[in-house]
Symmetry: C3
C-alpha cells in the first residue's frame, strides 16, 4: 500500500500544470494522485484577489471532499507556503511533506521577505500597473530564469498557459508557530538548475529553505524551476524518491 | 600496472560494507582491493572501546601484514580521520589519498568539532545511555539523512547490518602536524546528495574539507552518504577516477 | 534560422582546442561555428607579449573579416574577459553572450583580482623565471586541478598541446563601464566539477561570476575546466542550451 499524493502548484499555475507528472506517477508508479487548483488560480475564477487563508482553505476543502488520508503533500514554489499552512490545518492526514524548490517561510515571514529586493520591486511594480494587482512575469524573465532548460517553443507554449498571480499574496505574513511544532516527516527536493531565486546560501532555494525544516530527507535532480513541464518524468521519479517511506 | 586500493570504512561499518564496490573494482577495473576492518569494529569484537590510535594501528598492521605497497588509500566518513593518521604512519607506501565524503581534521581537532551542536548532543546523549558508550544512529535519522537515496527495504536491511560505534572516538583530538607536511597527492570525492553533514560552506563535507587539503583533484557524483550500498558501481567508477594517476 | 556561434578560447589554448566541440555543433546541431585564435596565442606567433586590447581586437577583426552577424559569442575561462570587451566593441553584432566557466570582471578589475593569492603568486613566480613572461601551468596542477576528469593519457596529450600564456595579461585592469550598460542577453554555463577556481561562493566560478551579469540564463553540466577536451559532445549540447533563443 503506497500513500496517495497531493501536488500543490506554484504561482501563475493551476492543477493542470502537473498533468505530465501526475500521469507518470499513476502509470509508472501506480499511485493515486490529486492536483487541486488553489482558490483564485487557474481559468475562469471570479477574482484573483484571494487571501493566503482562502488559498489554503481551498486545498483543505479539496482534501476533505475527496477524503484523502495518509497522503504525501507536495508543494512547489509559492505552494511551499501553502502546504505549510495546510499541514497546520490537517496534520493527521499527512504522511510526509515534500517541498520541491518551494518557499519555506519562518514564523511571521511573508514570501517577499525571501526574494531579492530587485525581484520584489519588479513584482510590485508590475502589479501596481494592473487593475486587480495580478500579473504574469515578463516573458524574458520567464524564459531565461524560470524555464531556462526549455527550448523557445516550449517556453512560449507554457508561457501562454500561465495565469495572472495576485502579488499581494507575497506580502501576507504567516503565523507558522504551529507548523514548526509539527513532527510530520519532511523532504526537500531540489532542482539544482533553478535560479529563480539566485544561487547562493543566503539567497537560493537550497540549502536555505531545507535548513529551516530540521531533520529532512534531501533529494536532488538537474532541471530548472519549471521541471514539471521540462522534465516531468524525472521529476515524478524524484517526487517518489522524496515522498516514499 | 595499476596501484592496489585499500578502502577504509566509516562508523558503524566494517570492511564488508565495501563488498559491492570492491567487486566492481576487481571485475570491471581489474584492481587489487583490500577492505580491512578497523579495530573495535565489525562483528565479534572483544570491545568497542578502542582508541583512535588503535583503529589506525589496525589498518597499518593490515597493510604491513599483506605487504601492500604503492597503493591508493581511500577513506569514507570517519575513515577520513583514520587515513590521515595512516598516511602519517606509512607515507612511503601510499600513492594517493582519496577522501570520499570523509572528515579531514585540522591539527588538534576532533571529529566532533566538525559536526553541528545538535548532532554532537544527540550522539553523546545516545552513547551516555548505553553501557559501553557505543551506539547505532536512530533509524529515522539513518533512513532520511544517511541513506536518503535508498528505498525503505534497502534502508532497513542495511540498518540491520550496522554495528555500534564507540562515540568517544569522535572526541579524540588528533595531532596532525605530520599529515599537513606530507606531499602525497590527494583527491576529494564528493557525493553531493549527502546531507549527513548539513549542506553549506561552513557545515558540509565539501568544499570545507576539500579546502583543507591544498592541491586536490576533485571528483563528484550523485548519491548520499551510503552510496557504497545504494550506488556501488558508480561509486567504484568514481573511486577510480579519483584514485588513478 | 539559427545564429552562428563564435567560440573564444582560454589561456594557453588556441582556436583548435574547440575542434571537437565545433564538430558536434556543426554536424549534430547544424550550426555555423567560428573558433578564432587570439593574438599572441597558438603556434608560431611573433610574440606572446600582447596586450588585452590586442587580444580583443584580434577577435573583432576576425568577426568583421568574416562578416559574422547576429551571433552567439561564447567565452571560456580567460576568454570571458575577452568577450566582455568584444561585446563593448561590436554589440550590434551579438545576439547573446555565453560565459562558460569564464571570468566576468567588474569594472576596473584585472583577472588576478579574482584568483586566490597562492595561485596569483605561483603564476607570477613561474612567469618571472621565463624570458618573455609566458608560461604553461606545471603539469601536476594541470592534471589534478584543470583536467581532473581525464585519464592520465588524455591529460598528458592535451598538456603537450598547450602554449605559453603571457601572464601580464592577468594584471591588466579593464574599463568595463560600457559592458555593464549593454543589454545583450547573457547565459552562464557552469561545469560544476571545475575547481580551477576553488569551489565556494566567494572564490569559485559560480555563482560569483553569474551574479555579476544581472539577469542570466543558467545552464549546468558535470565536467571540469577542460570539458572541451574531456566531454566535448556534452559541452556542445550545453552550449546550444545556453546560447539558443
Amino acid at each position: 500500500m503506497t500513500a496517495p499524493y497531493v501536488l500543490v502548484h506554484g504561482s501563475c499555475m493551476c492543477g493542470k500544470a502537473w498533468a505530465e507528472v501526475a500521469a507518470r506517477l499513476r502509470t509508472e508508479h501506480g499511485l493515486e494522485v490529486h492536483t487541486p487548483t488553489q482558490a483564485g488560480h487557474g481559468p475562469e475564477v471570479p477574482t484573483r484577489q484571494v487571501t493566503h487563508a482562502q488559498v489554503v482553505q481551498s486545498i483543505v476543502d479539496y482534501v476533505e471532499a475527496h477524503d484523502v488520508t495518509d497522503f504525501v503533500l507536495v508543494g512547489h514554489s509559492f505552494g511551499g507556503t501553502v502546504i505549510q499552512k495546510v499541514a497546520e490545518a490537517i496534520p493527521e492526514r499527512i504522511r510526509r511533506l515534500v517541498f520541491w524548490n518551494a518557499f519555506v517561510l519562518l514564523d511571521g515571514e511573508c514570501l517577499h521577505d525571501n526574494v531579492p529586493e530587485h525581484m520584489r520591486a519588479m513584482l510590485r511594480g508590475e502589479a501596481a500597473a494592473t487593475e486587480d494587482g495580478a500579473i504574469v512575469l515578463p516573458f524574458p524573465i520567464y524564459r531565461d530564469v524560470f524555464i531556462n532548460d526549455a527550448d523557445l517553443a516550449l517556453a512560449q507554449a507554457t508561457y501562454e498557459a500561465l495565469y495572472p498571480e495576485y502579488v499581494a499574496l507575497f506580502d501576507e505574513r504567516l503565523d507558522l508557530k504551529a507548523f514548526y511544532a509539527l513532527d510530520i516527516p519532511k523532504s526537500y527536493l531540489y532542482s539544482w538548475d533553478d535560479a529563480a531565486l539566485p544561487h547562493g546560501e543566503e539567497t537560493g532555494w537550497y540549502p536555505r529553505f531545507g535548513n529551516r525544516l530540521g531533520l529532512i530527507r534531501f533529494v536532488s535532480m538537474p532541471g530548472g524551476h519549471m521541471a514539471l513541464l521540462t522534465a516531468p518524468e524525472l521529476l515524478a521519479d524524484k517526487i517518489v524518491e522524496a515522498g516514499r517511506d
